[in-house]
Symmetry: D2
Subunit: 259 residues, 4 copies
């Protein structure tokens, strides 16, 4: 069955920076979507910050199996209401791939609960992303490592919770290291953080980077059922064991809990 | 060395509900602090929602090793700025104990990244909190289980990330079960969620509940050093390996990263 | 594609205990396999302790996607060599479902690294297995809980490493609780421990228990590729960065590492 | 209170290899113990493979808070009975530091449940161990990284279960990376794997390496109480809820469970 992917692009530097505009004339989001659409099991479309509701309407999210997030300069412009909506869908089971500078996106910080900070340097240096587990579905077809000739450096400490598994570790020409592929499960959503993607280099045209994104889309698609959580009150007469109501309560019958 | 504990109390039901006022005439926060102060290694004070900055000024938090949080009816009244401040201190290493209905506190949802919802029922039923690991520091002195004769029921599913360890599992008279003691590490802060504490019952006078809180304060006190994370740019001439700056960048030298 | 399942049965009590023989005249392993074969995507066969190499020849394991393990009285009779072989296949990606008293099977203790002990009682009491996450693939179709009218009790503490997720928590008529469905990943193998299955009750005829086993087979089938790990020496002239061999070594070129 | 440390040394290469004998004339174990004894809170002694019961008698282990393990050429000569004994003490709460080639020690593979394999190369190349979390107790006093001018390379994939936290990541001169400091909790024992230590270089004289070992000893010392787990049968008349024995059982009253 076709996996429906929505690629969310900030689409700011493509308009304001000549280097980025030259490398990604149609925007990074469209380049990423085009790469995914090479795979016939994937149907990827793109939306941007500038679209109504940033393109992430209830209906669009209902029809998204996996969301990909690329943002950098305008994290603060993303409406909290949309972040709430995306978080809800991830917890229900939608996959989420967060790319590069998306480590500081509101949705990523929201799901991690930490600062998500790191060290960085722009020197156009070489990066090698080493595969930590050659049997993982996400790394199939990439060999021992991915080599990117020119990129921005991200260095440890990367202030995130301990992941379920480290998929890639990067070594940079300047000497630093970084956990550059991390997987998490939050609610029933599978989350993959993937470091490559600095906008001043043609990273999303790289075959191995495209391979990882295709693999990650397949790995993160929803499984199980969609569960809407709701904090329900279970009336005493519906308890599995018969119980008699005792003592004093705060809530009247049928009243909702405090949030 | 003395461990400095701040007990944060919402202090709303104590003023508005006769049952709660009768059981906790000085407020739940003061009852909890008094229980902790029985231990000479602990120095506990209390603050409330109604205090200036909810009592959680920069200075107060600087002088807090472990923060205890009890809230229920007024989670929405806690200022986001104070939540930011508490989160920052937890990530730096301050311990955090979240009690009962605090599962829906902004600070707990912030650190978990999930909804933190559950099932509930007010029927004054019996709860037994079973110890899952008798060797854990938090459960010393409580035996096989804690029995509370009358309490509110919380039932699974409890929508939180997988904890580092389940410390207690509760069985309720009505039949439901709940993971009622959970530990997490976020940044360098140790977090303990502990379920007991419904305000219409004298739970915080219970000897075993007091014992768990004392143990948890000791377990969650800061260790290691305080690390202020900051997303620093590492200049190319400070890289461990000599590198030549290549390619095109977005940032001017010394410029801060986007947040 | 069809998932190939091998059900391993100890097949001792079926021969030596009249109660067990009456309930499972063809052996528990065949009852479990028959339940799985109701699903057209699954092709389950069974083998037993008494078979040559316990039925787990290299060839059989090569052709197994998911192995199910039921043992109780004769854990000690399983040859270590066969345990090594099963462990290797799990780490390579074969799914493993360990049932009931299999908590003490050599292969489970091997993969956990802990004692895997618990409390127990045979009193034919009622058990309810509560679903901890209604959205998980393993619990689809079972509702809020599974109720088994008569079973053996297993109680906490269950001495296992913290699981990746708790899927079920049981409450017993006598009052105890138990984490009765746990998932782990070791290497690329997905492991599911599932408590139900005491041999003196017709547990494996229960529709919800059968549903969970079918779901778990699908959840635990291999994904990604098979990776044979081997501790290879990387010659200096194959390092990604050119390096000159310096200093003094222990090993001669091409020599294997110590094990 | 003084922390009692036992340093276990294989003590083979010190006797058979001239390079190792020159660098560690008193054996690596004594060098490691001497480094720890610089700290007045630590009292370290050493034992070796060649000692009776490999120096790890019941009495010695009873009096050990933290055990340090260095082995390489003779993993297979360690008696399984001693491995059982060490495992039991770790699960009860004894700290365990496993060094360098100890990744293949029986006790480490036992506690991990995986192969613990990796890539390696002896070329005397430079290693930098980067600190992943500057606030962790284990890394206090080491700065951003530890640099070792000459060492053996270990490279990913390192076939271990996902750790509780990655403490160090190494970058090697030849380009490879490795998770070189990992923490686990198994039972109530804290485990730290620390990569440095190739015997043909004077690694254990390095001030930062010594600092890490001192820190790790303090971090891994026992906390909580010692729990001896035993798989007890809970008689029906001792269940918290009154229950009537029903159905048919396998065990006679008072009989032990199968192991």
């Amino acid at each position: 069955m076709t996996i429906k992917v929505t690629v969310w692009g900030e689409n700011v530097h493509e308009k304001t920076n000549k280097v980025v505009a030259r490398i990604y004339p149609d925007g990074m989001h469209n380049c990423i979507a085009a790469g995914l659409n090479e795979d016939q099991d994937i149907e990827a479309t793109s939306v941007t910050l500038q679209d109504k509701e940033h393109g992430l309407t209830e209906e669009k999210l209902e029809n998204t199996d996996v969301l990909i997030w690329w943002g950098h300069a305008a994290h603060g412009d993303v409406a909290d209401e949309i972040v709430d909506r995306v978080q809800k869908r991830v917890l229900e089971g939608m996959g989420l791939l967060v790319l590069h500078s998306g480590h500081y996106a509101k949705i990523f910080k929201r799901l991690m609960g930490t600062t998500c900070s790191l060290k960085w340097r722009e020197a156009g240096e070489r990066e090698r992303l080493w595969v930590v587990n050659p049997g993982h579905p996400i790394v199939q077809g990439v060999g021992d490592y991915i080599e990117l000739p020119h990129t921005e450096m991200y260095g440890e400490p990367f202030a995130v919770p301990n992941p379920d598994e480290v998929i890639f570790i990067s070594a940079f020409e300047g000497g630093e290291v970084f956990r550059s592929g991390l997987v998490y499960r939050r609610g029933n959503g599978k989350i993959f953080y993937f470091r490559p993607g600095h906008e001043t280099y043609p990273i999303y045209y790289d075959d191995k980077v495209k391979r990882v994104l295709k693999n990650a889309v397949k790995w993160s698609q929803p499984e199980g059922s969609r569960w809407i959580d709701s904090c329900p009150c279970v009336p005493a007469d519906q308890a599995p064991n018969p119980i008699e109501v005792k003592g004093e309560g705060l809530h009247k019958p049928g009243e909702e809990g405090f949030k």
